[in-house]
Symmetry: C2
């Protein structure tokens, strides 16, 4: 056993490596979440040496990312420590939400994800290059309005987007293989991150909305899509199409014919246009009938999600979309159905709630993408 024990003994010997980027992010992350720290505080919280922290802080101050706030009022004797924070006004972020059917929305956000300027561009049925021109127009207006250097542009796009920001397929916009990230980066000369809108949304929910580390956000609008966070990491899937649940068939009892040609896809039950069409029928005019329609839609969502909750052991499902339709009979029916169709012992406590971030969720997620890719914070 001696040989074994020796082989498996942990070592404390360190070898130099390219860990500077990681350490930089540790310092920035510490201040990002909760600013007003001294160098000694940062060293204690990150586990880095004070020498390392001092060197990194000096660099980050020179780069304009950190500022010294002055000295802490000390209760103990000795030299008071100088407090540091991220210079939250040093940069702005441009966020774009292309996920709505009739309008592209953009905003300037600060490093905390708070929105200042907001701009909208009517889509008016544009597709292809015309739709792309509207994205550029929107970004142009925001970059022009920026009063600080732009840290980056984050974009939440509908459809399937690969890790290089190429929109592989966004049928409503007529985009197939559009290298949106590269085009915007070339046009504006700043770093750009493009991701699927629901993937952006789950990042916002994780950073600003308190989502659990194993959570799914279902975004219900013109289509139905989802963003998944597993162990705190977003899931992209084998063809970047993770979360594409809108055209999964729900149940074994038929359903309406979908635009995709199949029958009973989740979108036929749950998309906002389909929900409105059903609610607008004269026979569904009164409150009770309205509730039946919403409950049925919620049940279908529960039926579709039960195998996903079981397979992934999700702790939390979050809904994003029109509160007047989703928050009530629909959401209650979804969570009841989820619990009735999974293993009570382990999945009975799965929770379901509306996002608290409202319609800005994709814009804020786009900002998180920029913060994460440029500064390593989120």
């Amino acid at each position: 056993m001696t040989q074994l024990r020796k082989a498996l003994r942990p070592s404390t010997k360190a070898l130099p490596e390219y860990t500077r980027g990681h350490n930089r992010s540790l310092v920035l992350q510490t201040l990002y979440r909760d600013g007003r720290r001294s160098r000694a505080d940062i060293a204690r919280e990150t586990g880095l040496t004070r020498v390392t922290v001092s060197a990194l802080v000096a660099e980050l101050i020179a780069e304009g990312l950190l500022v010294e706030l002055g000295q802490r009022e000390e209760t103990r004797p000795g030299k008071p420590a100088t407090l540091l924070d991220l210079d939250r006004s040093a940069f702005v972020i441009v966020g774009l939400d292309l996920s709505e059917h009739s309008v592209f929305t953009g905003a300037l956000l600060d490093l905390d994800g708070a929105i200042s300027t907001r701009v909208e561009v009517e889509l008016a049925g544009s597709t292809g290059d015309e739709a792309l021109a509207k994205v550029v127009d929107l970004a142009e207006q925001l970059v022009a309005a920026a009063t600080a250097p732009v840290l980056g542009i984050g974009v939440g796009s509908p459809g399937v987007v690969d890790l290089g920001g190429v929109v592989l397929s966004a049928p409503n916009l007529g985009w197939n293989g559009l290298p949106l990230q590269a085009l915007l980066a070339e046009r504006f000369g700043v770093p750009v991150v493009v991701a699927n809108d629901a993937n952006a949304a789950i990042l916002a929910e994780h950073s600003f909305g308190g989502a659990a580390s194993d959570a799914m956000l279902v975004k219900i609008g013109h289509g139905v899509g989802a963003g998944l966070l597993l162990g705190g990491t977003p899931l992209f899937g084998s063809r970047f199409a993770a979360g594409e649940i809108g055209h999964v068939v729900v149940g074994t009892d038929g359903g309406a014919v979908c635009a995709c040609g199949k029958r009973g896809c989740l979108e036929t039950w749950l998309s906002i246009p389909n929900l409105h069409a059903r609610l607008d029928r004269p026979e569904n005019a009164d409150a009770r009938e309205r509730d039946v329609v919403l409950r049925e839609a919620g049940e279908r969502l529960g039926i579709a999600l039960a195998p996903v909750v079981g397979a992934l052991d999700l702790g939390e499902v979050i809904l994003s979309g029109p509160t007047d339709l989703l928050d009530g009979a629909l959401a209650s029916a979804t969570v009841e159905t989820l619990r009735n169709r999974t293993m009570a012992e382990f999945h009975g406590s799965v929770t379901l709630r509306m996002t608290a971030l409202g319609p800005d969720i994709v814009l804020r997620g786009a900002a998180v993408m920029v913060l994460s890719s440029r500064l390593g914070v989120s």
Copy 2:
């Protein structure tokens, strides 16, 4: 923009960090996958400096993990390089498979996951402490049979197992909160890793069976469970119950009453005892009726998995269990159903196959768990 560019400029300055464990694993991993490498080969393939590699190799030789094989026959002039390999006979691994209903199986495996000695212990209805005693008995026989130091004991257990190897719930064995990993580690004085059987199986499939990085293994036996690999990493879930799909209700048209009290759970369609019960009915005696039963079970598996394939964008589903029942009408019906119920554009190419690892899959997965936790290789 100058300030921005400066802030975001990559740096090559390195700070010392505790990366030794990582570098050790890099060296071991390089040799594990494809041995017979010189120090220079390893440096080139890992990106580590030759000084770092030489120091790590010296340590690993002293620890008995690496051996020098002699010199390579060089075609070029100069001093021939000395080839290295993992000493694949330096250690053995004990693997235990507790997932079968009537028998516990154990084996000694080498560092390549090949099985030498194999031992079985009849369960004979044992549960609770009696079943635990049979696990200890099995491990004892194998440790006694080992002709080299035991690197560790890997265990694939049915039920829900947390990351500390506590079996939270294994109803068939009457285990609730059993700290199996700690008990075996204390008893045998070697490192022990306990995980769910299907999670062990997907690791085996990834290491030895060529599973994609985004894959799901469905293990069909007395119960039905799954192991998931996402981006090459096993998924555990918010309550360690990822893959527990056996009690997800399938379809919206009823089904048989399950032992859990619900109606139409996946296990009622697909577990081996339930399949046999249906196949043994006199009216299902001929080949055509048999196929109908198997196709129906396969369709139900497809219905249950379609939302999972859509949400996760899985590239591959792998089945593990009795080939005579699964490989044929059942598997074909599953993949057809999967394709018919998801988005053709992205999920139409999902593949489904039987594991090629046969009934040893959990034993080999248990070995992977030990290799991964002790040496950082897989």
